[in-house]
Amino acid sequence: MSQPSLQQFKLKYVEEVNDMLNEMEGAILTLEQNPSSIDEINQVFRVMHTIKGTSAMYDFKTVEKITHDVESIYSKIRDTQGSVSKDVSTLTLECVDLLRHLLNQPEDGDDALVNDFLARVAAINGTDNRTQSNNTSQNGGDLPPQKNICTYYMMFAPEADITNRGVNIKGILNSIKDLGENTIFTRSWRDDQADNGKFYMYWEAVFATELPFNELEEIFLFVHDEVKLEKIADIDLFSSEDFKEQLATYQLIETPIDTAELKAISQLLQPQQPESTEPQQPQPPQIQQPVPVAAPNHNAESERKIIAKNIEASDTKNSGIKVDSEKLDELMNLVSEFVNTKAEMLLIADKYDIPELHDIYEKVDKLSNKLKDNALSIRLVPIESLMLRFQRLVRDLSKELGKQVDFVTEGTDTELDKTIIDNLAVPLMHIIRNSIDHGIESVERRRELKKPDHGIIKFTAFYSGNNVFIQVQDDGAGMNPEYLRKKAIEKNFIKATDHPTNRQLFDLVFLPGFSTAQKITGISGRGVGMDAVKQSIMKLRGEIEMDSECDLGTITTIKLPLTLSIVDALLVSVAETQLLIPVYVIDSCIHIRHKDVDESKGRIIHEGEPLPILDMRTFFNISGTPPEERIAVMVKYKDSRVGIVLDKVHGEHQAVLKSLGKYFSNQEYLSGGSVLGDGSIALVLDTNKLIKYLKK
């Protein structure tokens, strides 16, 4: 492998910053609902601060400047325990967009955009300054709030290639200088092992800051491996002249500072606080604990709580890692191969009758099942991950259209396969967009109808059997079936003599070229939308349906399979062909005699009712003599049942579904194949398509 290039490190930086921006966007949206929520204010502050630090390291001056200015706004809000005004939250959202934009094209081409933004930030910063100075004058002679300052030691020994990675050493050192009182030592050492005795630079720093340890670590995120960070004391040692003198002596020596020595010194110094009149003597250990230095102070107290909460929050965030989805696919492949190999092992154990091997097989079997379940669960992602985008969409669009819309979510912890989630974003955006644009009425119209000013868009997700249902509901204008009918006749979708049901009329919305929008806006109404939505949902093996009541609202329901890659199925066979029928479509299985099938002409009498049947032998054109006893698997089809006649049922099977690929894309009645334990392949029947295919 070649050395990681500058490009790769920049990519990592962009990715991390994007993640942080997403996190922040969520916080801002919460702040709009609850403008003084201290957790979110802190979060925005923390994100801005971290991005500022890392951007300085990579020399992204524009990003650094923007984040710095926005950070100041929030730091003031935090310090004055104020709230976030609508202007500030809008500005912060713009900041998120601007940063995303800048990250995509790091060349500083949009100076006008940036300057405009900075000017507005400066305006807000200015007004806030005034209010703050008022505050201070009111508070008069109060002491500045006591902070919980600790003293840290840091060693930064960069690899020789650090500049190749685009890290700005000066930026790192400057970020230490920003933290608080500090002393930085610049040192070098000679590598005698190397041929030409190269010299290397390294830096040591002792500094005092109020930031907690984990936030310091975040500052050095991108040089994490090359930085050693250690806490020296829980107090600000720089307030002691003795300590400063001691630090000065380290300037003279050329070897790294011994932190143990530094800690020992700091312990000697600790008792020498101004209040302490005691002569110097060994102190009982508890005094070394962080003691609130001044008298109990309101600010310091709440500050500490915030920090504690911050630590909690960042802990939960760090519990996940990002994995390339290709790696997950590879894992799934390996697991299914492992399951197949396991079956071979059983064959050998049986063949040579080795009891010990059987025991091991059972263990392997258990493990492999767990492994399989685990690997599958990794692919599941909560639908929550999409919500942020939708909240933002609702906010921006309703503002643009001058409507008032509340976005309510329920069941967002429902998990779906990553592939499904990824492919759901666009169609769902479209549906929500439609709801805001055409569904929710203007405030005036809503008042006329005696509806509350705020329209509601409700997003619900829930499990039902092997499916996940997603519903988007609005309390807007709804669709008028009469209007749909007129439109459909006009556009030749139906004849004037047709009298379709409301349900059939609503289904027309999904046809290509059928738009009901009275006017085409930039947002929706071009008549390609719902057709495309339906296509993408169908690609995910899902179904979509709309229901509406005039003036009461519209509800769109999407039904999706839990995962695309696994199906609980019944393994059956007809002649030599092994087939899998998904369990959720099966109603029951019945034994029938072949003679009855043969003479049935496509219909048998079962439990006194005529039942349509389909002999797979005929369908597949299989020659040869069928067994006398056969099985009919009853599958549900719309409101009726159809019996699929087969030779034999083998049992249930958890099938890892594989695509059959391009060569079989015209085989509509097959939804894929699955490799069985013995390495042979069973074909998965798509009974809905099979029955539809036959009816044609």
């Binding site: 197949n340 062909t577 059959l660 391009k662 015209n666 490799v675 042979s680």
Partner: protein
Amino acid sequence: MENYSGATPYLSFWLDDQLYAFSINNVVEVTERPKITAIPQCDHYIKGVFNFRGEILPAIDVMAKCHLTRIHEPVADEDCAIIVLETNKEDADLHLIAGAIVERVSDVISIKPIDIIPINDFDSHIDASLSEGVYNHEDKIVTILNTQKILALENSSQAQGK
């Protein structure tokens, strides 16, 4: 295998007592005695599917794909081999991977482009568009097959497919 000026390696194999070859650049692996599962109602040149490292791949009957008529008794399925071929790996839309059923894999031979003799429909037993030409290898005729064409989808509905 020598690799002298401009020569590229080909994998040769037997089919109905004739020698054929694929460019080795397209060969992923040779699988001996695979278990082929028939798929009802599929295109005439596909014998079925087989399990290749956990993936399901179609097995192409090269004889049928080239519209060749058998002269000799066919070798039993169990004794066949499958050459797994892949083309256009970089382009997901054009990417194809499938197995070609052959009777017996022979050698890898190095062939210089200049030594490949083009053929036309009149002097060959095979449709000229499916072949890159023939090569005289130790007094035996080797028909070099065009991997692209052998793997190509035939059904019209598939050709339109995405």
